[in-house]
Amino acid sequence: MDLKRVGDCVWEIPKSGAMRVPGRIYADKRLLDLAKGDKALDQVVNVATLPGIVKWSLAMPDIHWGYGFPIGGVAAFDADEGVISPGGVGYDINCLAGDTQVLLPGSGTRSLSEIVESRYQGEILHLVDGEMRPTRVRAGLSRAPGNPVRELVTVSGRRVVGTEDHLILTRDGWRELGSVARGVRIAAVQSGDVFWDAVESVTSRPDVTRVYDIEVESPHHNFVAGGLVVHNCGVRVCKTGLRFDELEGKHKKLVNALFNAVPTGVGGDSAIGRLSKEDGARIVTQGAKWAVEHGYATPADLEHTEDGGTMPGADPAAPSDTAFRRGMGQVGTLGSGNHFLELDRVVEVYGPEAESVFGLREGDVVLLIHCGSRGFGYQICDENVHDFVKIAHRYHIDLVDKQLACAPAASPEGRQYLSAMACAANYAWVNRQVIQTLAGKAIGDCLGKKVEPELIYDVCHNIAKVEEHEVDGKMRKVIVHRKGATRAFPPGHPLTPGKYKEVGQPVLVPGDMGRSSYLLTGLPGAMKETFGSTCHGAGRLASRGEMNRRMSGVDLDAELRAMGVTVRGKTRSSLAEEMPSAYKDAGIVTEVMERAGISKRIAKFVPFAVIKG
């Protein structure tokens, strides 16, 4: 991929092919090399092809491969317009035997003869720049072979039967089937990925009396604003009023108290019981206001939550009954995966505002909570991806990747989704708020004193929001997608709460469970370049399975203890998968955003007591 350096820490993927805007990646050289290791940069390009996208398809330095959108991806789409401009490039598959299996997007195969004879209208996959992309059949025909027919069988058992003049993709480019001999590497597909398979045998097939042709369209330029695959998780940081020194020798006791008070992991039942549909409807429309009414939050907590803890436009009729079924027994639960709750020590402050505005001094103890909207939000996301895939044809959307499912933002389906997503965001705020209260009580009981965590700030890092941003010198209403990215409004922004007006909106970037997390604030550069967004975390480096293998036989407790961390998780594997070496260093990620003028570090935290699902 062709990358142009356009700033100290900014790299551009110039507009090419179906891209509507250039891609931009925030990274230093090392992080950029890491990003090249998976398909995340291709996903930045995919997002850039969606209609209505404005300025750039962006990637934060914690970018890694996600579903559809890259994680660490930010993109803004015009809120009203969805441009559709179909184009077509002819692409031929010549003269193959009728039982040749043609790959369909995501769902197996169909024989070539069946495609031709049934006048198949659906999508099939074809190869574009080494990637499988869907396209549609434009015309098909069957005829007697005009040239001798041959059969190739590969080492992996794949089989192609076609006329000698049929072109086949080899490692040296397209070649006529008749010229391909044993040992030649030809392109084959395994689970959507292309690999080079070796030809094992070539035989003549005079018995084949009928071959088939199909011509396919290869449309570009016709995606509509969306890519709404979000789970609404976020993170909050609270002051505890405790000093690190006074907790010496009590870390284990604290971890156990927190583990018993906050439900975690598989099947963790809500500490506040299963809620009625009526209470559920109130939670998802009122958000953190519900928590204030029920004694789980103070008015100050609301002020220090993004959007005041209530995302507007939430209609409880928008999420399905199934979403309510999944989520109503999970309010106040942490879940598993990368979600966590931890106590951290402030180890470094970067300026006087850390104390004057945030009240943070070195040696203070803060509480960090990372989780989301639980089964409620997962279900909303799942159902909408599914529905958007089904209705894609109605809006002439061809999906390069089903997980990039989208609908025009202004369509009834798009509006319904935004409303359901607001419900999920509200649920997530209530969830984190209830956990904050449970944790405060557990810490207090453990230490024999009253502990009331005071929220510094709560941010979403998986959400789409309608916001106003400057595009080409004019203010425009856009929908900003932050998929594994955090809002970071600068000083003076109207949506930054009063207390933080002069320093900018606070952002918490959690690191892994052994190394540092950071409190940041937004800078003016964020409004100019990233739609008011910055990074959200460290960014995963190693897969869960790889971590399980690497950590096999390792004493995880001892390893973490050596880093000064006491941890308790539901299972060994949930700890192994989240060990620090699975992640990039959040220190480097946040430094890049500071060098780029997007966000600034206020304080650095290091964990000492962690609970995981």
Binding site: G265, V266, Y378, R544
Partner: protein, 137 residues
């Protein structure tokens, strides 16, 4: 019949195989619950009828697994014993049997957020029906 879990950055994938389409769906149900918890000693004490509809075979498998996942989140039931009664390209009706998740008896593994369409594929037999599913963790 069988299933093999494989790596996918941050998530869990599973490759499935069975001699029949029905067997493939049963195995997929078992694999889903095995991702969530050790089902080795889950007895078929309660049953739930599960229906799902999809656009095609792969979509139907995806919807079927998602339905089992919803039952787990709602009722905390591990239902790894799956008998498929009706199955065609677009519909499935099955009975899933098991018992309530008990963390003391069934070792919990991981929560699943969703059954994704990422790399989703069903390939009919003969000889074997195979499928690939990725769970969002």
């Amino acid at each position: 019949m069988g299933y093999t879990f494989f790596d996918h950055t941050g998530d869990i994938g599973v490759d499935l195989e069975a001699p029949t389409a029905q067997g493939l769906f049963s195995t997929a149900g078992l694999a889903l619950f095995e991702a969530i918890a050790d089902t080795g000693n889950v007895e078929p004490r309660v049953t739930r009828t599960v229906r799902a509809e999809g656009e095609d075979r792969a979509d139907t498998l995806n919807r079927f697994l998602q339905e089992l996942l919803v039952i787990f989140d709602e009722e905390r039931l591990l239902l790894p014993h799956v008998a498929v009664h009706e199955l065609d390209e677009r519909t499935v009706v099955a009975t899933a049997a098991g018992e309530k998740y008990d963390p003391d008896r069934h070792e919990g593994r991981t929560e699943l957020k969703a059954v994704t369409w990422h790399q989703l594929a069903v390939t009919p037999g003969p000889p074997l029906w195979t499928a690939r599913v990725v769970f969002d963790v």
